[in-house]
């Protein structure tokens, strides 16, 4: 089995985002970390590899800082890591990002399974996984909460998807693209052996040429999305009202009346 995990580096969850007058987004000094949702994808890949053999390659399209995400994945136990970058990649939307990732995966040739996190905590489009599946012409199994069965010999995979209305069990042929969700597993901590490996490893950087991608399909010029304006959302204003009464029962009754009056219930 050759499993590929796609990951992105994101600012730490505690980072404070600011937007300046010109629409430039900044995360300040915040350290960059692996997109937290991608840890579920890495964990699932490691579990499947340990069960079925083979290797896990983690890839990311991103500048030098993306190494932080790759290192974390290697420190968790991934076998290989590849960063894909070219200055022209800057400003890529999901269309362009998925194009580059799909090209890179095709370049590897022998990939059986591609895993994604559910979304990236910064841009949150939830699109890249499905878009890569479409480009690869592979089945797209997004919102997977459980891998029910993986049969490398029969070239098939069965997963349980978490949908709003309930759960759905679907089977597909390999190679397939799986989008993981929180709850599919509990991501492991990095290990000291992994940390040492990650610190020493060489991280090949593939260029657009290396993956056979055309430069006019990536970056801002290759993107369908335009960002005419970027601004920080206005701070949410809320008012808290303390309900005072003699007893808890009275407080509850007042609360219910208020909720009815506000048509909340």
């Amino acid at each position: 089995m050759h499993i590929v995990v796609c990951t992105k580096h994101t600012p730490d969850t505690e980072a404070k985002m600011t937007v300046d007058g010109a629409g430039n987004v900044s995360w300040g000094e915040s350290p960059l970390i692996i997109n937290p949702w991608d840890e579920y994808a890495v964990e699932e890949a490691l579990v499947l590899r340990d069960e079925h053999g083979g290797k896990v390659t983690v890839i990311s399209m991103g500048p030098q800082e993306a190494l932080e995400a790759l290192k974390h994945a290697v420190a968790m136990g991934c076998d290989e890591a590849i960063r894909i970058w070219d200055e022209t990649c800057a400003g890529s939307d999901t269309l362009a990002t998925s194009y580059v990732l799909a090209r890179a995966i095709e370049q590897m040739g022998d990939v059986d399974l591609v895993l994604f996190g559910k979304s990236a905590i910064d841009a949150q489009t939830w699109q890249v996984g499905a878009a890569v599946a479409k480009r690869l012409g592979a089945p797209s199994l997004m919102y997977t909460i459980k891998v029910v069965e993986l049969d490398p010999d029969a070239r098939s995979i069965t997963v349980e998807r978490l949908l709003e209305e309930g759960r759905q069990v679907v089977s597909a042929t390999l190679p397939a693209v799986v989008g993981t969700t929180k709850g599919i597993n509990e991501p492991r901590y990095t290990s000291f052996i992994g940390i040492r490996k990650a610190a020493k490893m060489e991280y090949p950087a593939w260029s657009l040429d290396d993956v056979g991608a055309e430069s006019d399909k990536v970056g801002a010029s290759g993107s369908g999305v335009r960002w005419p304006e970027v601004f920080a959302p206005p701070a949410r204003e809320g008012e808290a009202e303390m309900i005072e009464a003699e007893t808890v029962e009275q407080q509850a009754a007042i609360l219910v009346d208020k909720l009815l009056a506000e048509k909340v219930i």
Partner: protein
């Protein structure tokens, strides 16, 4: 000069931080309130290899350096003191003591399982009648053929009720002219007949940590359990403290950071007189001091850790780091409570726990007064360091990781 952490150190910090935030932070109040050690988290720490973090892989450890040990302590104590105390006694005082002074056989027998976290270890120096005045200890070890017969009471011992192995100091020559030359060190195992332990209740802080007593009644300890030579116990005890104090200092640094983080967050939340309290200069002053002390404590710890990595003697630097960082952590925690007002005085917030925990660190592993005396001693040339028969080996990645 280079103040940056290596990739390994940075990832180690991140890993321990994640562990502390995921595994300790959500439950610490519960354990602290009920005065129970979090053995579940301790077990996970063992599995992750944190308990043997800076011990070479060949001795069951994780093969990281001494800076990583400090970073792990900082990250643990940023969330709670009790698991850092485990690092101090298990890793700093006991494992590194074995690593420095133990014979190959002793390392295989005790260090390997301890570094793997299969056996927990403690350090038993203090007695009811002897704390700062170590040579006043009254426990005795009487040689009888192939065994020493140990008798005595140890008090205020971290992990007393939890540990499997104890590094015990006792007098082999109670009448030695130079009293410190009469002390020897022994590895005592819980299973040995005559060993009983118990917890001390009613502590001000470190309530999620086990602190207790050990009673030794005619415990027969084989000669091969003696660490170092007969009469070398005092030197061993002191050299172990060079490592234990380093972990305490690094932990206190984490406690300052925790106080700072909590204070900054609350200063933005709380409003008085029409503005955030962060706008009041007297609040800013307390926060500025925490920021200053965090930076200073961290630099002192890194210096001590760097000296350890180089294999250089660091008794003075480690004592300085421990003295400064623990006192600064107590001030930081106290100011954090002040900034939180009445809410800081309640256990709904974490800062009151920081304050209770910080006080302990100004007492154990050398009280602040003892460290002042040590520093004065160095400054006035009243004391100096003589080479030891066994020095703590310098960090060598090649040797550590194979």
């Amino acid at each position: 000069m280079d103040f940056s952490l290596t990739s390994e150190q940075e990832m180690t910090r991140q890993m321990v931080r994640e562990f502390a935030e995921r595994k300790v932070s959500p439950v610490i109040k519960e354990y602290d309130r009920s005065h129970r050690p979090n053995l579940d988290a301790l077990g996970r720490m063992a599995e992750l290899g944190i308990l043997g973090i800076c011990i070479p892989v060949r001795y069951g450890g994780a093969g990281m350096d001494y800076i990583c040990l400090g970073l792990a302590c900082e990250e643990l104590e940023r969330v709670d003191t009790s698991l850092r105390v485990v690092m101090s006694v298990h890793t700093g005082l006991n494992c590194l003591g074995l690593f420095q002074w133990g014979s190959e056989q002793q390392k295989q027998r005790w260090l390997v399982p301890q570094a793997r976290g299969e056996r927990y270890a403690a350090y038993a120096l203090t007695e009811p009648g002897a704390g700062s005045d170590v040579v006043a200890l009254a426990a005795t070890a009487r040689r009888e053929g192939d065994v020493y017969v140990l008798n005595g009471e140890k008090m205020w011992i971290s992990l007393a009720a939890v540990a499997h192995n104890f590094l015990v100091f006792a007098k082999t020559d109670p009448r030695a002219a130079k009293a410190h030359r009469g002390i020897s060190a022994f590895m005592v195992e819980r299973e040995m007949a005559g060993v009983t332990t118990g917890d001390i209740h009613g502590k001000l802080g470190v309530r999620a940590g086990s602190t207790g007593w050990i009673s030794l009644a005619d415990v027969e300890v084989p000669v091969e359990n003696r660490l170092g030579e007969e009469g070398e116990g005092f030197k061993i005890a002191m050299s172990c403290l060079d490592n234990g104090r380093y972990t305490v200092a690094a932990g206190a640094t984490g406690l300052i950071r925790a106080s700072l983080e909590a204070s900054v967050a609350y200063a933005h939340e709380r409003r008085t007189f029409g503005r955030e309290i962060a706008e009041h200069q007297l609040i800013q002053q307390m926060i500025a001091r925490m920021a200053r002390d965090y930076e200073m404590a961290r630099l002192l710890c890194w210096k001590a850790g760097w000296l350890k990595n180089q294999g250089q003697r660091n008794t003075r630097e480690t004592s300085l780091a421990k003295w400064f960082a623990t006192e600064a952590s107590f001030t930081a925690a106290s100011d954090a409570v002040q900034i939180h007002g009445a809410y800081g005085y309640s256990d709904e917030y974490d800062v009151e726990r920081y304050l209770r925990n910080a006080k302990g660190a100004c007492i154990y592993e050398g009280t602040s007064q003892i460290h002042e005396l040590i520093q004065a001693g160095y400054a006035l040339d009243h004391r100096g360091d003589r080479p030891l028969r066994c020095e703590l080996p310098a960090y060598d990645p090649g040797y550590w990781q194979t």
